[in-house]
Symmetry: C2
Subunit: 368 residues, 2 copies
C-alpha cells in the first residue's frame, strides 16, 4: 500500500466514528510494517484511548511485534499531561514501543501540543513526516479546532425549505417540506451533534421531541433558548424520557429563568446573545450544536456571524408565498454572501446543501 492509501485508511477510520468525539478530535491511526497493515484504530471520545494506543493494543492482542513499525495518524500524537486529561500522552509510548517512523496528517491545534509532539518524536530518533496535503486532515478536526482555539461550540444552522426558499407556508405550517429520506438524514445530523437548539417559540408552536429517531446514534442534549415569555411546562422536552437531557438558556429576571430552576435543575445556563450561547454551551461540555429554528433564532445566529456550517434541506416544491428561514438587510446583489459548498447530497427527491463560510475550510467535496 502506498503512503497515500495508508493515510486514506487512517482518515476513513477517523471519519467513520459514528458519534461526536468532542471535546476531543476524531483521530485514526494505522500501524504498518513492510507495506502491510499490522493493526489500526480510532479514537471514540473522552475517556477512551487515543487512536495510536488502540492500534498498539490491537497489535499486542494479536501477538504482533511492532518494533520498527511505521505509524500513520491523522493528527499529531499528543505529548502533554494536564489537569482533566484522562489518558497518558502517546509520544512516550510510541518511543517505548520502538516505532521507527511516524506520518502525521496535520498538527494538533491544541496549544499544549502544536508541533511539540512531532518535535519530541524527532528528538527521540523517530523519523517524522507530514502529509503533503493536510487539508483533508484539518477538515476532520474542524469542530475540535473551534473548541480548542475559540473556546466555543461549533454551530450548524439547519433548516428545510421549498425550492423557492420558504421554510413555512404563510399560515406557519411546515410539515412536511421534505420527504422521509431527508428527514432521516436530519436525524443523522442530530446524532452527530452534542446539542440541538430551538427557541421557545418553536417549542410553543410545534412541541417537537428533538430526539434522534429513524437512525442509530446518541441522543444529543436538547437546548431551549427562552425569551421573555413563559415556557410551556408540559412540552415534550420537559416531560418525556429524555427530560434529564434538556437544558434551558435564559436571562436572569425572566419567568423562564425561574421555571428553569424547576424544569431543568442543574441544566440552566445564562445567555443573552448567540456569542454567549456558544460560550456557555462549550463550558457545559456541549461542543457542537445544531440550531434548528425558528427563523428569529436562525437569523440571530446567522446575522451575528455565530455559525460555522449550514445544513439546508431543499424540496422540489413551489409555494409562491410563505416564511423564510433567514431574513436580512441586503440591498443589492453585491451584498449577497457567497458560501462554500462542502457537499451536495441527493436524498430521495430532495437535496441537502452543506455549506461553510468562503475562504475557510477545504475543497468542495461531493458524494454524487
Amino acid at each position: 500500500m502506498t503512503s497515500q492509501e495508508l493515510f486514506h485508511e487512517a482518515w476513513r477510520l477517523a471519519r467513520e466514528v459514528p458519534s461526536s468525539t468532542l471535546p476531543n478530535p476524531p483521530v485514526g491511526a494505522v500501524l504498518v510494517k513492510e507495506g502491510r497493515i499490522l493493526a489500526s484504530g480510532a479514537h471514540r471520545g473522552p475517556g477512551q484511548p487515543h487512536a495510536e494506543i488502540v492500534a498498539l493494543e490491537e497489535a499486542r492482542r494479536r501477538g504482533v511485534d511492532v518494533r520498527g513499525a511505521v505509524l500513520y495518524c491523522t493528527l499529531e500524537p499528543c505529548c502533554h499531561t494536564s489537569p482533566g486529561k484522562r489518558t497518558p500522552p502517546c509520544v512516550p509510548r510510541l518511543i517505548d514501543e520502538g516505532i521507527k517512523e511516524v506520518w502525521i496528517g496535520c498538527a494538533d491545534p491544541n496549544p499544549e501540543v502544536a508541533g511539540q509532539g512531532a518535535a519530541q518524536l524527532s528528538q527521540a530518533g523517530v523519523d517524522v513526516h507530514w502529509a503533503p496535503d493536510q487539508s483533508l486532515f484539518q477538515d476532520l478536526i474542524r469542530e475540535f479546532r473551534v473548541g480548542i482555539v475559540e473556546h466555543r461550540s461549533w454551530v450548524t444552522l439547519k433548516w428545510a425549505q421549498t425550492l423557492d426558499g420558504y421554510a413555512a407556508a404563510p399560515d406557519g405550517s411546515s410539515q412536511w417540506i421534505t420527504g422521509l429520506e431527508a428527514r432521516t438524514e436530519a436525524h443523522r445530523l442530530r446524532a452527530r451533534c452534542q446539542a440541538v437548539l430551538v427557541g421557545a417559540g418553536t417549542l410553543r408552536r410545534d412541541n417537537p421531541s428533538l430526539t434522534v429517531r429513524h437512525v442509530e446514534g446518541q441522543q444529543p442534549a436538547r437546548v431551549i433558548w427562552a425569551g421573555q415569555q413563559p415556557l410551556p411546562e408540559t412540552a415534550q422536552v420537559f416531560t418525556d424520557e429524555w427530560r434529564d437531557r434538556t437544558w434551558i438558556l435564559a436571562q436572569a429576571g425572566t419567568v423562564a429563568w425561574d421555571q428553569a430552576t424547576r424544569l431543568t435543575p442543574g441544566r440552566r445556563l445564562a445567555a443573552a446573545t448567540p456569542a454567549e450561547v456558544v460560550r456557555v454551551l462549550y463550558e457545559a461540555g456541549l461542543g457542537s450544536v445544531l440550531v434548528e429554528g425558528g427563523p428569529q433564532i436562525l437569523t440571530a445566529f446567522y446575522s451575528q456571524g455565530v455559525w460555522d456550517s449550514l445544513a439546508v434541506f431543499q424540496a422540489p416544491k413551489l409555494l409562491g408565498a410563505g416564511q423564510k428561514a433567514l431574513f436580512g438587510t441586503a440591498t443589492s446583489m453585491a451584498d449577497a454572501r457567497e458560501l462554500r459548498v462542502r457537499q451536495f447530497s441527493r436524498l430521495g427527491f430532495d437535496l441537502l446543501w452543506e455549506l461553510e463560510r468562503q475562504g475557510e475550510g477545504n475543497d468542495v467535496h461531493g458524494t454524487d
Copy 2:
C-alpha cells in the same frame, strides 16, 4: 449487441442532435444485420430526411446490402403524406428495401400515424416489436407531443436564484447570481429552444441581447411580450445583427402594437394571455419557448398553468431579502406544488434543477 444496446444507440443518436428539430420530433435509427450495425442516422429537422432514410442512404453509400436487416428506431416510422409534409413516408421505403424486422421505441402521437405505421409494416410481413419500456423514447419526443397534440409551443420557465430563493436584490440588481459555468449552460438552453421570451419590463430594465453566446448553437427567435407601455425602440433586440429574428407579442390598440409594425414587420403577433402566446408562437413555427422573465411574466405563465418544464439555476449565496422569480397565493404547506426532478446538474459552484410536473414524464434522471 443486445436489443437494449441497439435501442440505446438509436436513442443516443436522437438525443445528440444539437438543435431543436421542431415541429418534427428528434428520431434515431440503427440498421443491424447478424448482430452488427450496418448504418445509423438521426433526423435533424424540417426538410431533412427522416432517421430511417438517413441510415438506409448511409448503407447504400457504403455498398451494404440491407435486405433482411433489422431496424431499431426510437419512434414509429411514418406512413402518411399530407399537405406541408416535405418528405415521402418511410414505411413503403422500408418494405421496398426488404427490411425484415423493425423495433420501435414508441408510437408516433401524430394522429396521422398513431400505430398505423406499425400496422402497415406488419401487413407487409415485417416483424414489428415494441420497446419493453417506452418511457425513455416518449421522453425524447415530449416537446413534439405537446405541439402535435395540443397545438402549442413547449414552455420552459427559466430563472436564476440565490439559495434563499431571490432572483434579484431589493434594488433589482441580479448580475450575477450564478457563475460562468451556469451562465454558459443557460446559453445552451437558449440554443435548444426555438424562441426566447421576455417581458417589456425586462427589456427596459436590462436591455438584454438574448443571443446565444459561449456555446455553439442556433440563435433562437427573440420574443418580446409588450404590455401597455411603449417599447424602448433602441433596445439591442431591435437594433443588433439579429434584429430580423425578433418578434413582438402585443395587443391591438396599444402603443407597442403600432411600434411593432415598424420594429418587427411581419413578426407581430396578437396575444393577451400565456395560453394565447403559446398558441400564436406555435402557429408562427416557434415550437418551443424559453421564458426568461421578469417575475410578472414568469408568474403569469406559472400561475395559469402554461408551462411544461422549469430550469432553475441556484447559487450558494444568501441575500436575506430581495425579489422572487415567482409569487403566488399559497396559504398552507398543503398548497405547495410538488415537482418532478428531471435532472440535477452541478455547474461549478452552482446547481441547475430541471423540473417537470408531477405525474407526467418519466423517471428521475441524474448526471451526477
